[in-house]
Amino acid sequence: MASTITLRPLVSVEHLTHHYGPKRTQPVIDDVSITLHEGEIVGLLGRSGSGKSTLLRSIAGLLRPDRGEVNFAARDDASPDVAMVFQTFALFPWLTVQQNVELGLEARRVAPVERRARALAAIDLIGLDGFENAYPKELSGGMRQRVGLARAIVVDPALLLLDEPFSALDVLTAETLRTDLLDLWSEGRMPIKSMLLVTHNIEEAVLMCDRILVFSSNPGRVAAEIEVKLPQPRDRLDPAFRAMVDAIYARMTARPAGTPVRDGLFPGTGISMALPHVSTNSIAGLIEEVDAQPFDGRAAMAELGDSLGLEIDELFPIAETLQLLRFADLRGADLVLTPEARRYAGADVDQRKAIFGHALIAHVPLAQHIRRILDERASHRATGGRFRDELEDHMSPEYAAATLRTVTQWGRYAEIFAFDEDQDSFSLEDPA
């Protein structure tokens, strides 16, 4: 596809930077420059918090970036340049399918007769004929997303923005919708010149896109740009397809040479490291999975994701937590358990807690910090607010709360400290 069409630039994003946080000091995306051309589907692949959505919303004009520009190639007509399809469908429950689809046209003052004709055509195109008068709550998830698509393409946008459009759907429905969308695209039945797809599903990106931009987190940057030259329609079982998926996994887990394993996994250092929301059950589950056959201590991330049915958004934080706790190392795109982790896998409940507690104190500075304070105090008590304040010096209140929740859960499991929610206090007391 991409190779047969001359690459005329459609949208160029230049040096886009956006910050968040109470003082707007932490960059979500930092100096991102990309160009989208006519006739291509571009994937934005990255984890949650990598700023994909921020970039998408900046292009959509919903966000005004702190710095940088979004420029559209000049168009001859006045129709809007972009339209967006949402992960949550974003349909108005009190409007019928037809009224939902007409919304954008109505806002542009299109005459009722023409509005109606265009909406019906779009509904027809997207395969919703017969549901014009239905309300969204009467439709299944897949059909709702079809309404979302029809509403976006009816306004005749040059660029279609897709914000994780299939991630709220079940596997089968998502696949049907992807195929239908690709068919419409390749047959040229939509007036769209280019599509930008945000996803955290590597296979989906390889399946649909001509070009994939891999985003790194903290701050969001374009870490890699990968051309997908496989012919459409693509086959997930094709070895070339698999090889590409594996290569992207490796790419996304790779760390710049020379950085120590532990640093750079999560934003912040020392006690101010923001910890992800990963439960001890997930940690134990991943260790057990990799320890067992067929992996026997070493597993390719892509295969792990497949066998556990986890997307990178879910798998990566767990794998990184294992690295943080020195339960695993990453070699290429393979996750390799350390001897400590293999011992953990074979241990009983109490031994597991002991191993986990040891790793927690040794490798998670915040856990170590809380435990030391409790040890030092005669009362062996400290309020949660004390640590929250400390964390908020370095991160946003939401991140601080999430980090403290995670460390509390880990610490309770390891029984290295207790926490009383009513009194908001940490202690060394055994709740039993």
Binding site: G61, F86, A90, L95, T96, L103, R109, Y135, K137
Partner: protein, 579 residues
């Protein structure tokens, strides 16, 4: 699923089928109903544009033939106030949601106004409106309507404001992405999204309003005495003449009016508003209303809504169509300081004016005695809420756990909470006089007579919402007796109970103004308290004392809300929410 939902499906799927059918029986029935309502409304409105001398020429009489007419006038006042409240809500709440600065002033103001004893206002409003329309019935009418308005508007505006602030972010992005103009966005997104909560709050406001319409029709402020034709005035006259029979008639008329209002207005509106509930799945038990189904089955429905639809069309046609701003640009620090300085200056001026006004005529002694009386009323409110809770929580839980009973009794509890308790006051007075009881103690229950039902129907709602699995688990493990109450029932209904008790306590404070002083002919019973103090000051037209009384009562209600109910709310949110 019932037949009703089936019929709505058919309607939606093929609307063309229904066009061109001959008028059916439902059309006829609906037409008669609507025509009757229209004629009655026109007749009632005609009565308001008359010189005040008319009131003297046609004084209130206890002739049963006049009762429907009085009931009509009372009802019209209620609806006039409701429309005023809606207009106020749309303007003020939208302003607060759109402008951060406006919100800084409006939101705390609404919070306080919600807690102010409305009946205390009457003194000021009657004087003001009579001055506005000298010698016209309209002045007194407006004063009465304004009193009802002040009992309805604040919580409606608050609910609308909160809805606007919680519009789902994806729908907000769609609206901004398609560049909907502000007007279109309001009609397409904000208004529909806020409708269910607004309807519910309007209904609660109406329930509370009946109490005030009864209290505000016949009023004496200083030398001015006005008795507007209405059930309230009928009641006042009946009390003056000690006409027991007339009081029974008033109770009956009120019951009929509330029943009609419930069936013909409130239920249809709730059934209609159901379509705006923001949920993507089809609900199983939708609110039902025979009147709504009747209107739906006719071709008259679009006719009724024609003025509303036309207004919407007009707004859209006049819509300048400016693009809504892509992102909010915060104002500069200098204008921010200027704004704060302005607010502080206005506040300072207000405090100074108030202090100056009150201090000119009142002494510290007055302040001390008001404080003592307020504490007395406070202890009454606390004790009564506790007593009502002890009675109604177990009853409510019992009813709520039995779906058949809950379905039957929930509307009854709501009906009782709408019924103006002040109509029943004479019976209590007769009993107290008859048995020679102490007014200081036995007048107290009147304060909670009308408001206790809020506790009951909220607890019923809470108990019906206890998930079946929790109940089954409790049953399987043999949890019963006190343990069952402590671990299952009470935590589950607590959030609902707090809502009900908060409403009940606020209402009781308000009711104290009419409940602490009651009369029966020449018999006058009085219980010492802040309510009685305000009532007396109102009757003698002693404005500074009224102001002091209202301010004290507002302060007590506010303090009570912030120190007792809010922390309980937070606790319930944090620990007892069934996620």
């Amino acid at each position: 699923m019932s037949e009703i939902t089936f019929r709505t499906r058919v309607l939606r799927a093929s609307p063309r089928l229904w066009i061109g059918l001959a008028p059916n029986r439902a059309d006829l029935a609906a037409f008669v109903l609507l025509a009757a309502i229209a004629v009655a409304a026109l007749k009632g409105i005609g009565g308001t544009v008359a010189p005040i001398a008319d009131l003297a020429q046609h004084p209130i009489t206890l002739d049963p033939a006049n009762l429907p007419w009085y009931a009509l006038r009372t009802t019209l006042r209620m609806f006039a106030a409701l429309f005023a409240s809606l207009a106020f809500t749309f303007v003020v709440a939208t302003l607060a949601a759109r402008s951060r600065r406006a919100a800084q002033v409006i939101v705390p103001a609404l919070d306080i106004l919600q807690s102010v004893p409305i009946l205390g206002f009457l003194t000021f409003t009657v004087t003001f409106f009579m001055g506005l329309f000298p010698g016209q019935v309209m002045g007194a009418e407006l004063a009465s309507i304004f009193a009802i308005f002040t009992s309805q508007a604040w919580n409606m505006a608050f609910s609308f404001y909160q809805s606007l602030r919680t519009v789902p972010s994806d729908l907000d992005e769609v609206s901004r992405g398609f560049a909907l103009s502000p007007v279109r966005r309001f009609l397409r997104l904000d208004l529909p999204f806020a409708t269910p909560a607004l309807v519910w709050n309007a209904m609660m406001s109406m329930s509370g309003g009946w109490f005030f319409v009864v209290a505000s029709e016949a009023i004496t402020v200083g030398h001015t005495t006005v008795a507007l034709p209405g059930l309230g005035s009928w009641l006042a006259l009946a009390i003056e003449r000690q006409d027991f029979h007339a009081i029974w008639l008033a109770v009956g008329a009120m019951a009929v009016v509330i029943l009609l209002y419930d069936q013909l207005v409130f239920r249809p509106v709730v059934a209609w508003a159901d379509r705006f509930r923001f949920e993507q799945t089809a609900g199983t038990d939708r609110p039902k209303s025979w009147a709504y189904d009747l209107f739906r089955a006719t071709k008259i429905l679009p006719l009724i809504f024609a003025p509303v639809t036309a207004l919407g069309r007009l707004l859209l046609a006049l819509d300048p169509g400016g693009r809504s701003r892509p992102a909010r640009a915060p104002g500069g620090p200098r204008s921010e300081w200027l704004w704060r300085a302005l607010v502080v200056a206005a506040l300072g001026y207000g405090v100074w004016t108030l202090a100056d006004y009150v201090a000119a005529t009142l002494t510290w002694h007055d302040a001390a005695s008001v404080l003592g009386l307020a504490l007395l009323t406070l202890s009454r409110v606390v004790l009564l809420i506790a007593l009502a809770s002890l009675i109604w929580v177990p009853v409510g839980v019992w009813i709520g756990l039995r779906p058949v009973w809950a379905e039957r009794l929930q509307p009854v509890a709501q009906f009782l909470s709408a019924f103006p308790a002040n109509i029943l006051f004479p019976f209590a007075v007769i009993l107290i006089v008859c048995f020679n009881l102490s007014p200081a103690i036995w007048l107290s229950p009147l304060m909670i007579l009308g408001t206790q039902w809020y506790i009951l129907f909220n607890v019923i709602a809470g108990a019906s919402a206890i998930p079946t699995d929790l109940r089954e688990a409790a049953g399987m493990f043999g949890v019963r007796g006190w343990q069952w109450w402590r671990d299952v029932a009470l935590p589950a209904v607590f959030p609902y109970y707090v809502t009900g008790a908060l409403t009940a306590s606020g209402g009781s404070w308000n009711a104290s103004i009419v409940a602490e002083v009651v009369t029966w002919g020449h018999q006058r019973l009085e219980a010492p308290g802040l309510g009685a103090w305000i009532a007396k000051a109102t009757a003698t037209g002693d404005y500074p004392r009224v102001a002091l009384g209202i301010a004290t009562m507002s302060a007590f209600v506010l303090a009570f809300n912030h120190l007792v109910w809010r922390p309980m709310y937070r606790f319930a949110e944090r620990r007892l929410r069934l996620a």
